[in-house]
Amino acid sequence: MQVYKVFLKILRSKIGIAIMYIGIFIGIGMASANSSKEQVDFTESKAGIVINDMDNTEASKSLCEYLSESNKVSYGDPSDRDKLDGVYYNPSRYYLTINEGFSDALTKGETEGILTHSAQNGSYYETLVDSKIDLYLTTASAYIAGGSTADEAFASAKKALSKKTDVEMISEQGSEYAETVSPFFQFIPYIFLGVFLFALCPVIIAMTEKEIKNRTFSSAMSPKRFLFQTALGSAVFMVLVFIFVCIFVPIVMCGCKPSREMFLAIINALAFTVVCASLVLLISNLISDEKLVNLVGNIVALGMSFLCGVFVPMQYLGDSVKKIAVFLPAYWYEILNCAIGGTGGQVYSESLFIKCISIQLAFAAAFVLATFAVLKAKENKTGVKAKANA
C-alpha cells in the first residue's frame, strides 16, 4: 500500500484547508440554525424604533408604550449621520420624532405633521411601523370624535388595540430537522466543493505528475494497483469528511435526533459527494498546475454557491439566475434540501426526491465521461508526439 501511504502523506499537508472550510461551515451553520430556531411559533417582526419624544406628555408617552409592546424601542436624539448609518445598514431601524405640541394638536384634530420619521424609504419595516402609528392615532382620534377626553381616548385606544388577531402556524413544527440542522445542510455544496477540490485535486495532480508517474510505473507497481490505491485514499478522505459533516455535526454537535428528514438529507448529501468526487476527477485530469486548481476551484465553488441558492436563499434568486442554475448539480441538491426542510416554497414528494437524486447522479456520470474524454485526448496527444519523435 505504498501509493496509498504517499497519498495520505501529501494529503496531510492540505489538511489545513479542509479544517478551514469545515470551520467556516460550522460557524455559518450554527449562526443560521440559531436564527431559524426563532421561527417555531408566530412572533411579530420587530422594528428597532429610536424615539425622540419632544412633547413628553401623557399622550406621547402612551404612543411610546404602545409601540414598545411590539417593537424594540429605545430613546434618544441621534444626529442625522447616525440616523443615516442606522437606516442604511439596518433596514428595520425606524427613527421617530414626536414633535412638540403633539398632544394638543391631536386633541384638536389638527394632526398634520405632528410626527416625523426617517427609515429605509418604502421598506417593509417603514410600512409596518407607519401602519401601527397610524392605527393608534386614528383609533385615539375616533374616540375623541366620539366624545371622549384625550386621556380617556388614549387609554381606550390602547385597550382596543391590545386585542390581536389569532394566528395559526400551519408549518411542520414537529420537524426537528427543519428547526435545527436544515441550515447546515444548505451550506454543504460550498463546503464539500471547497474541501474536496482544494485538498484532493492538488494531491491527485502531484501523484499523477508525469515524472512521478513514470518513476512509479517503472517500479513493480501496476497501473491498476496505483489507480486502486489512489482511489482508496480519495474515498477514505471523502468518507471521513462526509461522516464528520453530515453525521457527527448534526447529531453530536447540534443534538438533532435521527429522523426520516435527516436520513433523506444525508442521502441527498451523499449524492452530492458523488458529484464532487467526479468533479475532482475531472478537474485534476484537466489541470496539471496546482496553482490553477486554486483559481478554478474558487470559481466553481463560489459560482455554484452563489447561483444555486447556497449563500442566497432560493426564493430571492431571480428567474434568469434559476434558468442558468438548472444546469448545475448544486441547484438540484438545494431544491431537494429546501423540500426536505419545507423552506423556499418547496414541497417534498417522493418523485421530487428521485428526480433530484437522479439528476445529481447524471451530472456525476457526465463528469466521469468528460474525464474519460480528457484522458483519451491526452493519450492521443502523447501518441501523436511519440509517433512524431519516432
Partner: protein, 375 residues
C-alpha cells in the same frame, strides 16, 4: 528611474497570479454579487404587494370591498386571491401566498412562517377589527356619534411626515460592491510585498541581482512603488469600470470619484504591502500567504462576506472602522453615496493618504542601509 519603472511594471503584469486575483477574480465576484445579491434588496427590503388568500366563509361585503380597495393600483398593499379554504391552504403550502385570511364572523390568519409580511397582514386585520369594534362600542354609548367616529376612521391623518436622509442609492447590498472594490485595493499588499522582495537579497534571486547592481536602493524601491501603484490603480479602475459600465450597477457616486477613491485605496494597499515585505525574515511565499489572509480578515471585518459585521462594529467598536484599511475604502464610497456633505469623505481620504505615507516612509526606513554579507 524610468527604465526601472518600465521593467517593474512589465514584471508585475506578467505575473499570472496578479492578473487573476486583481483583475479577473474581482470581475467574477462582482458578477456573482450582481446576479444574486443586489436583487435581494428589491425582494426583501423594498415593499412589494404581499400575496394573500382570502377565505370568505360568511358573506362579508364590507371586508371584501376593503380588500379590493387595498389590492388596487401600483402601490397596492396586497395582491389578493379569493379562494375556498382547501385551495387557499394549498396555495400557502406551495408558497404562492404569505398568509390566508379567514373571515368567519371573526377573523383569523393562517401562516406558514413568521416574518414582516405576515406581521403586516396581521396588522391590517387588526386595523379592520379595531375599526369595527370601536364604531360598535361608540354606537352603544352614543348612537349619534357613529357618523363622527366613522369619519375619524376614514379621514387621512397625514400625521407622520417622512424625512429623507439621503438622495443616494439606499440599496444596502451595494456595500458588497464597495467591499469588493476595497478588496481589490487591499490585495495590493501582494504587489507591495513583491516590490520589497525584488529588492531584498535574502528574499529572492532577483533581489540578489538587484542588490549587486549599481542603482541605489531608494531609487529602485521608489520605481517599484510607482509601478506597483500604477498596476494596482489599473486593476481597481477595471473593477470600477466593470461594475459601472458592464454590470450597470448604480454605485451612487460618480465614476470619476469612485475611481479616485479606488486609486487612493490601491496606493494604500501597495504601501502596506511594501512595509510588510521589509519586516522579518520570512520567505516571499509566506509573506504573500500571510498578507492575503490578513487582507481577507480585514475585508471580512469590513463586510465583504457578511454585510452585518460592518454595522455591528459600527455599533460596538466604531474606532475600528477608522483604522481598518478595507473599511476606509468601503466607507469612503458609502459616504460619497449617501452623505451630501463631503466632510466625512475628505476625512476618510485624508486617513488613507496618511496611512499610505506612513507605511511608505516606514518601508523606506526599514530597507535603509540593509547590507547582505552573504545570502
Amino acid at each position: 528611474m524610468l527604465h526601472n519603472i518600465k521593467y517593474y511594471t512589465l514584471s508585475c503584469i506578467r505575473e499570472k497570479s496578479v492578473i487573476f486575483w486583481l483583475m479577473i477574480w474581482p470581475v467574477i465576484l462582482a458578477t456573482f454579487f450582481h446576479v444574486t445579491l443586489l436583487s435581494v434588496y428589491d425582494k426583501d427590503i423594498k415593499y412589494n404587494s404581499i400575496d394573500v388568500a382570502v377565505v370568505l366563509k360568511s358573506d362579508n361585503a364590507t371586508f371584501k370591498s376593503v380588500m379590493d380597495g387595498v389590492s388596487e393600483g401600483d402601490d397596492a398593499l396586497f395582491n389578493t386571491t379569493y379562494a375556498d379554504e382547501e385551495k387557499a391552504l394549498q396555495m400557502l403550502e406551495d408558497g404562492d401566498v404569505k398568509g390566508v385570511i379567514v373571515s368567519d364572523g371573526e377573523f383569523s390568519l393562517k401562516v406558514k412562517t413568521t416574518g414582516v409580511d405576515q406581521t403586516i397582514i396581521r396588522s391590517f386585520i387588526d386595523r379592520y377589527s379595531v375599526t369595527e369594534s370601536v364604531i360598535i362600542e361608540n354606537a352603544k354609548k352614543d348612537p349619534t356619534s357613529v357618523a363622527k367616529v366613522s369619519e375619524a376612521f376614514s379621514k387621512e391623518l397625514k400625521a407622520n411626515d417622512r424625512r429623507d436622509l439621503s438622495d443616494g442609492n439606499m440599496n444596502t447590498y451595494m456595500t458588497y460592491m464597495y467591499n469588493l472594490i476595497a478588496m481589490v485595493c487591499i490585495l495590493g499588499t501582494t504587489v507591495g510585498i513583491n516590490i520589497a522582495s525584488m529588492n531584498e537579497a535574502n528574499l529572492s534571486a532577483l533581489g540578489i541581482r538587484n542588490c549587486v547592481s549599481p542603482t541605489g536602493k531608494l531609487s529602485k524601491n521608489f520605481a517599484g512603488l510607482i509601478s506597483g501603484c500604477l498596476v494596482q490603480s489599473v486593476c481597481s479602475a477595471i473593477a470600477v469600470i466593470y461594475i459601472v459600465f458592464i454590470l450597470r450597477d448604480d454605485l451612487g457616486v460618480s465614476t470619476g470619484m469612485a475611481m479616485l477613491t479606488a486609486i487612493v485605496g490601491s496606493w494604500m494597499g501597495v504601501a502596506i504591502g511594501f512595509f510588510c515585505g521589509t519586516i522579518g525574515k520570512f520567505s516571499e511565499g509566506a509573506r504573500v500567504g500571510l498578507s492575503i489572509a490578513f487582507s481577507m480578515v480585514l475585508c471580512f471585518l469590513s463586510g465583504l462576506m457578511v454585510g452585518d459585521i460592518k454595522y455591528l462594529l459600527m455599533d460596538k467598536a466604531p474606532w475600528f472602522n477608522n483604522i481598518n484599511p478595507a473599511a476606509l475604502v468601503c466607507d469612503a464610497l458609502y459616504v460619497l453615496n449617501v452623505d451630501g456633505n463631503m466632510d466625512r469623505y475628505i476625512t476618510k481620504m485624508l486617513t488613507m493618504v496618511a496611512v499610505t505615507l506612513f507605511f511608505t516612509i516606514l518601508g523606506f526606513v526599514m530597507t535603509r542601509r540593509k547590507k547582505y554579507a552573504s545570502v
